[in-house]
């Protein structure tokens, strides 16, 4: 597979996931170009480091957005594609796209001012969940149980300086079992899946929930692939919940972590990502 093919890895920090991707690339004989998102610069005519494909592993949505656009400008394909980064990195855009494609997703209302936020929460009903449109790991999420709590949380969010906190993404609270489902999609296949369990209503593995392997039924595979395809496809972690009405997709993550998934399932996720990136780079 080598033949001088250069695989760029654009990163913020080297976690086990990035280390495994670098290792998988090296074991395939690929030339690895390390692209530290705090160091690289982007001219209008050429990149400061060349590559045949760039795997985006930056944890910053903003840096990911601009970097993948710049690499596209140079004609260097990225995993994921810039439009996928833009869409899947923003929960509002993701929800719109999932709804457009008929993928079942929790009831969601967006508001652009504190006043409208209270209306949005009333419209979703109590309890509701407030999430930042950008960012993850369960950070700054709030479960809102009453109108009084809604007023307090909206007031607190309004006091935060970043304009992103004046955008309110309100979702129904889904009364799920104490777990959710994560399905890891690479290209047109499901690589692995896991349950994330927690007595906390936030089941993110980053928040310390436990994990176990998730058997992938044909229905689950079909829904996960449909959700991934809806945002443009690539390397994506589809998060689902078991709602009373059936499975619903609540997030599609464009730069997914897979340490917990690898530990739970033993799947070679890093190898699958590298093989897919090479395929994209050779198209």
């Amino acid at each position: 597979m080598s033949d001088g093919f250069r695989l760029g890895v654009f990163y913020t920090i080297i976690r086990p996931e990035e280390k495994w991707i670098l290792g998988a690339a090296e074991s395939r004989g690929l030339a690895v170009v390390r692209l530290d998102d705090a160091e690289v610069t982007f001219g209008l005519d050429r990149p400061d480091a060349d590559a045949d494909v760039v795997v985006n592993r930056s944890v910053s949505h903003t840096r990911s957005l601009y970097a993948t656009r710049c690499y596209a400008h140079y004609g260097i394909p990225t995993v994921n594609h810039p439009e996928v980064v833009e869409l899947a990195g923003d929960k509002i855009l993701t929800s719109l796209r999932l709804a457009e494609r008929g993928v079942p997703t929790p009831k969601t209302v967006v508001a652009l001012s504190p006043e409208a936020a209270l209306k949005a929460i009333d419209r979703v009903g109590y309890p509701a969940v407030l999430k930042p449109a950008i960012g993850s790991w369960g950070r700054l999420m709030a479960k809102v149980g009453s109108r009084e709590e809604a007023e307090q949380i909206v007031e607190h969010k309004s006091a935060l300086s970043s304009p992103i906190h004046s955008v309110f993404y309100v979702q129904e609270f889904v009364p799920k079992p104490e777990r959710d489902l994560r399905v890891f999609v690479v290209g047109d296949r499901v690589v692995a899946g896991m349950y994330r369990r927690s007595s906390d209503w936030r089941t993110n593995a980053a928040r310390g929930g436990s994990t176990e392997p998730l058997p992938i039924s044909p229905e689950l595979a079909e829904l996960s692939l449909r959700a991934a395809s809806a945002v443009g496809g690539g390397v994506l972690a589809v998060d689902l919940m078991e709602a009373p009405s059936g499975l619903v997709v609540h997030e599609v993550n464009p730069t997914p972590e897979f340490k917990a998934l690898t530990a739970a399932t033993g799947a070679d996720v890093a190898g699958a990502i590298v093989d897919y990136a090479v395929e994209v780079g050779r198209r």
């Binding site: 530290d36 930042p132 790991w137 950070r139 992103i164």
Partner: protein, 53 residues
């Protein structure tokens, strides 16, 4: 080996790569590998608002 910039504990092993983030075994501060030869570390970048998956 080098000293943790927060607690002065000796940190570092041979399996760390450039840019890798790991917790100081003594104080738990997240450290980033700045160089492997000689081994150097600095506190890892702090989580920003737009960080996530």
């Amino acid at each position: 080996m080098t000293q943790c910039p927060e607690c002065d504990a000796m940190v570092g092993t041979n399996d760390k790569v450039l840019g890798e983030v790991f917790p100081c075994p003594d104080c738990g501060t997240e450290l980033e590998v700045l160089g492997t030869d000689p081994f150097q570390v600095q506190p890892a970048p702090k989580e920003a608002e737009d960080w996530g998956e």
